[in-house]
């Protein structure tokens, strides 16, 4: 038996919708086998993992709380990736947003006013954008590979945050514990639905989806970005100023990541602590790809990613399954999703002598060719 990939020539629209479904089915099957092997009821476990966390309003609201920072980062990354600018630095940009947002917030401990919160949010977004400006500068002036520079900047940002929270921004009345003072009410994002943690940051995230969508599909600059990504040479022939576009992409992306960071500290956390982000910026990279770099796709992908985290907590609480299992399961789903995407651009030919060749080749064969 032999499996062969053939280029379709044109991406399959149908498959681009079907492939996540296929990946989902494969993950469910793999998960069921895994859970059964551990002596758990597969159906009950899958139910606990995927349905139970969002079975009520509170669960849904938490899904939003968890998805918001990922979504903000990922929409920004999509703009970059569309232009072939490989920003891996959303994590660092988010942390910088949180750091400078907190710094601003702590400077307003004594000053109350309706304008304070916008200033704080702006400070965070600007910090994120400026942090993303570094790789933009390096790329446009020195031709430095942005994948590598943004990875380095993530670590520098993390250490700057740790330095600040262990040092200058530490709560003076906090017994030397590494955390800042709690932010006052007027520097805290308002809660939209009582009894939940749905905060204004979620609105920002949804707005970013809409704005980026319109920006990419309806504006001339958005069009230029797409051309730059598809074919840098023709973009230059067409007279697009590619350096300017690179700057723009990175600033947008960094600004959104910074907004995500400052929304976390002024939202659900309410103070600056060392553990602002459990890897949102990295999760956003995966989400951006899962969402096919399309804002709406990313919206769904970020919800799925958030659900994976929530589900992992839920099976620990309800079934006592270890956390490591969740990581394993998440990894599996991501692999399946990434792997199934191949079907969009390629069709699979199974040259088979054995008809009972197993599940996978059968599933992989594209029936609509």
């Amino acid at each position: 038996m032999k499996i062969k990939l053939e280029a379709r020539g044109q991406d399959s629209r149908l498959i681009s919708y079907l492939s996540p479904v296929l990946a989902g089915v494969l993950t469910l099957i793999a998960g069921a086998i895994l859970f059964a092997a551990l002596g758990q009821s597969p159906l009950e476990t899958l139910y606990t993992f995927f349905i139970m966390p969002i079975s009520d309003l509170y669960g849904l609201s938490e899904l939003g709380v968890k998805a918001a920072p990922i979504l903000l980062c990922a929409t920004g990354l999509a703009v970059c990736y569309r232009a072939n600018v490989w920003n891996i630095g959303a994590e660092g940009q988010l942390l910088m947003g949180a750091l400078f947002g907190s710094w601003a917030a702590l400077s307003f401990l004594e000053i109350e006013g309706f304008w304070v919160l916008p200033v704080v949010l702006l400070a965070g977004s600007l910090a994120g954008a400026l942090w993303a400006g570094i790789p933009a500068l390096l790329k446009t002036h020195f031709n430095t590979n942005e994948i590598l520079s943004t990875i380095m900047l993530n670590y520098i940002a993390l250490n700057c945050l740790l330095f600040s929270v262990h040092g200058p921004l530490k709560d003076p009345d906090g017994y030397n514990f590494p955390e800042s003072a709690l932010f006052p009410d007027w520097v805290t994002l308002p809660i939209l639905i009582d009894g939940t943690r749905i905060h204004l940051g979620i609105v920002f995230a949804l707005l970013s989806v809409a704005v980026v969508w319109v920006f990419l599909s309806k504006t001339f600059v958005g069009f230029q970005i797409q051309v730059l990504g598809n074919d840098a040479r023709s973009a230059r022939f067409a007279g697009f100023r590619d350096k300017k576009l690179i700057w723009l992409c990175l600033l947008i992306s960094g600004g959104l990541a910074g907004l995500a960071g400052v929304s976390e500290v002024t939202g659900p956390i309410g103070q600056l602590i060392p553990a602002i982000s459990p890897g949102y910026g990295y999760a956003a990279i995966i989400v951006a790809f899962l969402g096919r770099l399309h804002p709406v796709g990313i919206l769904f992908a970020s919800l799925l990613m958030a659900l994976l985290y929530l589900g992992g907590e839920m099976v620990q609480i309800e079934l006592g399954l270890p956390l490591a299992l969740t990581g394993l399961f998440q990894g599996l789903l991501l692999f399946f999703l990434l792997a199934c995407d191949v079907l969009i651009g390629y069709r699979v030919r199974v040259i088979s002598r054995v008809s009972a060749g197993g599940l996978e080749p059968v599933l992989l064969t594209n029936p609509t060719q």
Binding site: I156, I286, G327, L338
Partner: protein, 308 residues
């Protein structure tokens, strides 16, 4: 500061740098072939846990290392299949590999937490080991330290003097032309990815079998990412990886040593040094177009579409 102490600091620096060196060598070969694998951390953790379990049951460090390398290779094959055969994005797949490896290693290691192994005896090289100062600093390490230096020499020689090394570089520089002259881009990249996996597994096992002989969740503590920086810092040159690994090793312990002398620098700011240095090197290299062509593999991280 007496001379003995300096010798011991050099000793500690080399030991701290060794796991970085091993994993960075693997990543170097991988990147030279044009593949960027961000799954180092996941592969290292799998190497660490599998190596520990194997050594625990077999009472043999050698068996531990072999199994660790096999575990690293298996992990890298997953990455290889998804990125090479299925053309998935390398960055996303690498990150997914790290998530997967962290979870899987924690899961299979559950029963081995709190177990201990005997460490590895140092091998004092006869003659050289008894030279004052130099003996302590350079010639009384464990076997893996020596082995890692030999690996460096091997990889250096491989790229400099062998046809196979040339092929790997050619594939990394221009997969299209490599294919045009009849080379199998896929097989070459697969080999490079597997080598990277084996090295990552070995580095992980170094941590769980030699450095701190125990298994604990997430015990690599970000070393896979430092190795990534290291390869760039070294501008994809083997001899600089060797030097850089020890520099990075020194950077991570220098603040501990200084504290002993009551010199206090913020450990967090100090921890940024390797990354800042890496960016500077990156800028210095890439600002010169001709130079970057000599070192950084041109096709790094870009998917290669076979045209049959």
């Amino acid at each position: 500061m007496d001379i003995d102490l300096i010798a011991n600091i050099i000793f500690a620096t080399i030991r701290t740098g060794t796991p970085l060196l091993i994993v960075a060598l693997g990543e170097l070969v991988c990147e030279k072939s044009g593949v960027l694998n961000l799954g180092q951390e996941g592969m290292m953790l799998m190497g660490a846990v599998v190596g520990f379990i194997a050594a625990f049951h077999s009472d043999s460090i050698t068996v531990g290392f072999i199994c660790a390398m096999l575990a690293g290779i298996s992990m890298s094959l997953i990455f290889g299949f998804i990125t090479m055969n299925l053309n998935a994005n390398q960055v996303a797949s690498g990150l997914a590999l790290t998530i997967f490896g962290t979870g899987l290693s924690g899961f299979i290691g559950l029963a081995y937490v709190g177990k201990a192994l005997d460490g590895v005896e140092a091998i004092v090289i006869p003659g050289l080991g008894s030279i004052p100062f130099l003996g302590t600093a350079f010639f009384s390490h464990d076997i893996i330290v020596y082995l890692s230096v030999f690996m460096c020499i091997f990889v250096y020689y491989f790229f400099k003097n062998t046809r196979a090394g040339l092929i790997v570089k050619a594939v990394g520089e221009s997969p299209e032309s490599a294919q045009a002259i009849g080379l199998s881009v896929l097989s070459v990249r697969y080999m490079a990815i597997m080598f990277g996996g084996a090295m990552a597994g070995m580095a992980g096992a170094y941590l769980s079998l030699v450095y701190t002989p125990l298994w604990a969740d997430n015990m690599t503590a970000g070393r896979g990412w430092i190795a990534l920086a290291l390869v760039v810092f070294a501008s994809w040159r083997v001899e600089r990886v060797l030097l850089g690994a020890y520099l990075f090793g020194a950077a991570s312990i220098v603040n501990l040593i200084l504290q002993g002398y009551n010199v206090s620098i913020s450990p967090n700011l100090l921890a940024t040094l390797p990354y800042v240095a890496t960016i500077l090197v990156l800028v210095a290299l890439s600002s010169n177009q001709a130079k970057v062509k000599m070192f950084a593999p041109v096709s790094l991280g870009k998917p290669f579409h076979r045209s049959n």
